[in-house]
Amino acid sequence: MITIRAQAEAFDAGAEASALSAGRTDIGAIVTFTGLVRGDDNLHALTLEHYPAMTERAMAAIAAEAWGRWPLAGGTVIHRFGRLLPGDPIVLVVIASTHRGAAFEAAEFLMDWLKTRAPFWKHEDRGDTQHWVAAKASDDEAADRWER
């Protein structure tokens, strides 16, 4: 099962990964992805807006897709919303599997689809300028790799 959460609070990536494998001896590989706020170009803060009624539903659909595609032993996906500062963690994907190939692929897939199919919008405060982040063609291409 892949647990999903949308939350304002920070998360502890190491604790989430440890929780997945605690007491189990059937897991051979854990892949953890943490996305962080980069402070380049004078970024003061990044605010993530989301669509509360839809967010966890969309994240659960993406998680279910991953669960159906790869033989996974467990997973946790956390996406934050609200105001974040440079260096703050934004998103966490932890995937446990018997073998490393499935864990790496599923984690990459989840990130690619979260970026293009979960209802979050980033707003950047760069001090003298404020703007909504535009969707990237490279993210669409990354997501399209997994179409079938």
């Binding site: 807006e49 969309a58 934004i90 970026k115 979960a118 979050f120 919008w121 982040v133």
Partner: protein, 83 residues
């Protein structure tokens, strides 16, 4: 039906939600967007570039040709940028 707006769509329209009753001949998302754009200058500015608009009906993404019949909540927003 309830309409909800996010990100710059919300900012340009100036409100985050409204309840509307479109005319009977407005049956698709495309028609809804066309009708909404006539409601105010803010609506018109928010919806002028249809390529930049995404829509969810009752919390599921839909295409612009989707029917709005039976919809309770329609969300209108820019392409998502989370992750």
């Amino acid at each position: 039906m309830e309409l909800v707006y996010f990100a710059w769509v919300r900012e340009r329209i100036g409100i985050d939600a409204e309840t509307v009753t479109p005319p009977a001949d407005v049956t698709t998302v495309t028609a809804l967007l066309g009708w909404l754009a006539t409601r105010s200058a803010g609506h018109a500015a928010a919806l002028s570039d249809r390529e930049a608009i995404r829509v969810a009906i009752d919390q599921d993404f839909v295409g612009l040709d989707a029917t709005i019949a039976g919809a309770r909540e329609i969300a209108i927003f820019p392409p998502v940028t989370g992750g």
